[in-house]
Every structure is written in structure tokens, then in C-alpha cells.
Symmetry: C2
Subunit: 306 residues, 2 copies
DNA sequence: ACGACCTGTTAGAAAAACTCACCAATCCAT
DNA sequence: ATGGATTGGTGAGTTTTTCTAACAGGTCGT
């Protein structure tokens, strides 16, 4: 049978008090009031059944019993501190592996990476390109950044970052651009529409949201990745449909135009983590990403003009 | 600057779980539910920022980080356990010194001492004869047993045990006894009244409570201690006035009679302790004494006949 | 496939810890 | 000596933590 340990928090209060020979200073070190420390010491004395301090005037003197306990607890706590220090240090320098689809990585993450590293230097972020669908257990990842619609796989914990919003984009260099700029959304019907196998329903869902018929679409070549699709649009090969965030920088620089704005989809941009992962390193990243994503909410809403 | 310790209670839960390789068994050892342990481990993992267990089927496996922490915490806790064990053991075998006036000691405590020692063997009780008034700090005592009226000195913590009740007692061998047995309390007026310097007001307060005049009292010799007073009564030298508890055994055995019962005084029998003494060894004694004192409440009340 | 067994999770209840405000004692500077 | 500053102790009330109870989901053995 296991012998009983004393109340550990009381022991911590005692150790600090014994080391500093002052209740008040110990309270300061432990970030509590002196009353709390005084009480904890009382609890410990009561538990052990012997006085640990002699109250002498406005100070304290350790009793022999107190001295022995101080030595033991100081050593024990030092050992625990060392071990935890080591673990924490090791955990801190382990890279935080973030899975991310190549399209997002290329067009959104990389332009922001330097700033992210500067603002969260402790994170030691490593990006791992990885396409949707993600492994259910997120094997080898500390987190994944992706756009997806609920329901989420069991075993994920999901931080919503922003609604996904998509819309048609085209280059100023595209031959028909001038005629399209002030037209209805229906004007896209006759254009060369670029699309990607990774988002086969993008045009369909946008057309539905605009109440346009789908039969008259003129699909051009299909691109394997969203990344290529957007590059094709930038090159003026036709009208692409893309999530707002992934063309934000191109819109800002004028390389792309979005005459009909963007439209919410059922999907969201989320940060997904295995449900029982430690949260301490996660929260700063989640916060940063959310801020960065919502900073783009200033992009034109659906039907907005640019 | 002091580095931070991990949450200690969480660490204790982890240590038990790691040692037993089971959340459920650890919960059993710690006398909590498995949910509590599971949660504590989660808190610790979160605090340290690294997983300590790999959940594998219905069991647990320590991660390398967990193993290191287990070794460190097992050693640290063992050290603390040892030290506290030693302190507790030392405290337990230190005698518990109970100050007690000789009268009470002789006539009440000693007859019950064997039973007390048998029922509270861990207490290691030492009686120290000591007369009222007691030192305000109760120097050298763990507690004091005495009859006194409030207010109590500052720095005492007082466990009330029973009201003090006093009444006249006399021996069957006393010459006038037969005539007194069925008389009014006023019959004492003409008798030889025994009294003691240690309680000069005893007769006075009793007479007042009976609404009898005090002028006609025939005081006999004064005895230095209550103890002698009672012995004088037993010897048939006159009528003594004594607290109920101190003649209880004599009444039971017939060596003394209390024809007019007993009367509450302003005083109480109390167990007094220095206010910041540890309570763990105290409570069993206080409980035992209270039970023993109130067991005598069955003695005849004031005006009751015997 | 089923029950036995184990761990994780949640809301709400219970317990522990803390703060605040006060007191008493001591020390120190005037 | 006296009044202010500092220190420790205490009690009431509140906040925070921890625990329980009940359920969910997975794995193992039969």
C-alpha cells in the first residue's frame, strides 16, 4: 500500500516561504496574497501534525521539523523543475508541422510566411504540402489548414477561420475583359471558363447562387490544381473561379479582377488538429491565422464591383 | 528568477498512472474517479506541451517524454513521501501533553485513564498536573483541561465539553445525613460546610441559585484543594460543595450523596489549546472527552433527589 | 456479435483556494 | 513614546479548480 503524500500545493507554499523566510515574499513569488500562503502553511502543519515555523515577532523561524522538510522539498521540487524544464524545452524546439494544400501554400501562406515567423518565432513552424483529403488522424501533422465543409471527421478539433468565398476572376490581359467589367454576372456564360479537377463543383455552385442556367457553360481545359487554374487566369487564358483569399494579393496588385465579387460557399477555412493535442502552441497560431483571414473580409462582397 | 513548476496535483495523477500503467487503477489509488485522473493528465500534457502517453486501444503506453517524467516524478515524490513519513512518525510518537488541575486529575481523569489510553492508543497522552490559573500561552502543553468561565484568554482555542454543575455532597457516614436526606436545600444552613480556597465562591453561588440567605453559613475548615475537600466529605466531616463530574464515581458507589442535586454555574469544562496548534491529534481527544463528560449528564439535575 | 473493460468527454456539483478587509504584534524613525 | 510601515494571522464570501456522474467510443476476448 502506498503511503500518503502531503497536500502538494501546500508544500509548494511552504517551500517558497522556507526558502525566502517570509510569507509575504513567498506570496509575491507565487502571485497570491500572503493570506493564501499563510493558510496553505497552516494546512500543511495540520496535515503533518507538527509546527514547521515558530512565529517570532513579525518574522518566521523554521523549527527542526521545518528545516528537514525544507531540505527535502527543495530537492524534490528542483528535480521536478529540472525534468519539466527539459521536457518543455524539448517540446518547444520541436517543429510545429502544419499540413497545407499546395494551392493555399503557394498563393497565400508563402507570401505571409516571413511575417508569421517573425510574429510567432517560438512556434518553429514547418509547412508540409499535402493535398485534400487529409488523413483522418492527421498523421505526422500537428495541425492542418484547409477549406472544407462540415461535418468534420471524428477526432478532429476544428478552429473555424473564415467562410470560404468564391467568385470569377480574370486578367486585365484577357481579351474579353473590357467588355465584361460592367456587365451582369450572366455575361460569363459565353466566356472561356477555366476549371480544376480538385474543385469540380465550383462553377456549378457559383452559377446556382447567381440563379444562372448551367447548360451554356463553355469549359476550357481542366487544370490539375487550383494553383494552375489561377495562374492560367493571370495569364489571360479565360475566366477562373477561385476562393477570395487565394487571389487577394493578385486583386490588390491588379493582376486579377473580380468584377462580380465573391459568394459564400458551404465550406470554411479551418485549422484542424487531432482532438487531444496540447493547445499551448496551437492557440497563438490559430489566433494569428484567424486575424489574417478576417483581414480579407474587406474584399468586395458578392455582387460588389471592382 | 524561479522557473515554473508544473501543476503538482496533475503531476501526482500522472505519476500514479504511469506507475500503474492505467488511469483506472491510478484513480482507485487516489480515491477519485477515472475521469478526474484523465483530466489531470490532460492538464499536465497541455502544460508541458507534449504528449506523455500514447493511447493504444484500451491501454496506455508512455511516450519517451512520459518515461523521463515518470522517473523524475517517482523519485521526487518518493523523497517527499519519505520526509513527510518521518515527520509524521516523529510527531505521532511525541507525547501529547495535557495540563490538568490535580483535583480533576485525581478524581476524574485517572479512573478513566486506562480506558482512554486503550481507546486512543495513538495519542500517547501525558498528563501534567497544573493548577489554575493556566499560563496564557499554555507553555509546554498541547492542551489543558479545566473549568473556567468565558471570556477566554486571546490565543486560546476552546472546545466546550460540558457546563460545570455544582452541588452539596455528603457522606452516609456524616452524623446528620439521615435527617438531611429528605429536607429542603435550606437544611444545609445549620450544617458544617466544608470549603476550599481554590473555589472561594462555590457555596455563595450555590446559595444564591437556591435563593437562600448567606449569613447563616457555618464554615468549617478550609482545604487547600478541591481534592481534599471531597475527601473530607467522604470521611463524613461535613457537607462539601463539588462539581458533579468530580464526585460522579463516589455517587455511583454510594460513598457520597447529593440530596439536592446539582446546579449550573457560569463556568464550563473546556479543553483549551493554543490557537494555532495542529488539530489532527486534538480532535479525537476532544471528541472522547466530550462524550465522557456528557455521559454524566444523567446525574440528577438541580433539585433532583437521590 | 456481444459483453466486459478501458479511456475520454461533458455539464453540473462539490471542494479547494484565493481575495479582501481587518486585527495584532513588532520594528523603526522620528 | 508615538505613529507609521511592515509582517503574519484570521474570517467571510467569492472565484477557481477539481471532482463526480453519466454517457460515448474503442478494443479485446470469448
Amino acid at each position: 500500500m502506498q503511503r500518503d503524500l502531503p497536500p502538494l500545493n501546500a508544500l509548494r507554499a511552504f517551500e517558497a516561504t522556507a526558502r525566502l523566510e517570509s510569507v509575504s515574499q513567498a506570496a509575491q513569488e507565487l502571485h497570491v496574497t500572503h493570506g493564501a500562503v499563510s493558510r496553505q502553511i497552516r494546512v500543511l502543519e495540520d496535515d503533518l501534525g507538527s509546527a514547521l515555523f515558530r512565529r517570532q515577532g513579525r518574522g518566521l523561524v523554521l523549527t527542526p521539523a521545518g528545516q528537514r522538510l525544507r531540505d527535502a522539498s527543495a530537492a524534490a521540487f528542483a528535480q521536478l523543475r529540472d525534468a519539466c524544464e527539459q521536457l518543455r524545452g524539448h517540446a518547444a524546439q520541436t517543429p510545429f508541422v502544419l499540413g497545407c494544400p499546395v494551392s493555399l501554400l503557394t498563393r497565400w501562406m508563402i507570401p505571409r510566411l516571413e511575417r508569421l515567423m517573425a510574429e510567432l518565432p517560438e512556434l518553429n513552424l514547418h509547412l508540409r504540402p499535402q493535398e485534400i483529403p487529409f488523413d483522418e488522424a492527421l498523421t505526422g501533422l500537428d495541425a492542418a489548414l484547409l477549406a472544407a465543409a462540415p461535418p468534420w471527421p471524428a477526432g478532429w478539433h476544428v478552429f473555424p477561420l473564415a467562410r470560404e468565398r468564391i467568385g470569377p476572376v480574370l486578367s486585365p490581359r484577357f481579351a474579353q475583359t473590357h467588355g465584361l467589367l460592367h456587365s451582369d454576372p450572366s455575361a460569363v456564360l459565353g466566356q472561356r471558363l477555366l476549371h480544376t479537377a480538385s474543385r469540380p463543383h465550383a462553377w456549378q455552385s457559383w452559377m446556382e447562387s447567381q440563379h444562372l442556367p448551367m447548360e451554356k457553360l463553355h469549359f476550357s481545359q481542366s487544370y490539375p490544381h487550383l494553383y494552375h487554374l489561377i495562374e492560367a487566369a493571370v495569364a489571360g487564358l479565360g475566366v477562373a473561379i477561385a476562393p477570395a483569399q487565394m487571389v487577394a494579393d493578385d486583386l490588390a496588385s491588379g493582376r486579377l479582377l473580380a468584377p462580380w465579387g465573391f459568394q459564400d460557399t458551404a465550406a470554411q477555412w479551418v485549422l484542424a488538429v487531432p482532438s487531444r493535442a496540447p493547445t499551448s502552441r496551437l492557440m497563438p497560431l490559430a489566433t494569428w491565422l484567424e486575424a489574417e483571414f478576417t483581414a480579407h473580409e474587406k474584399l468586395p462582397a458578392a455582387n460588389g464591383q471592382r
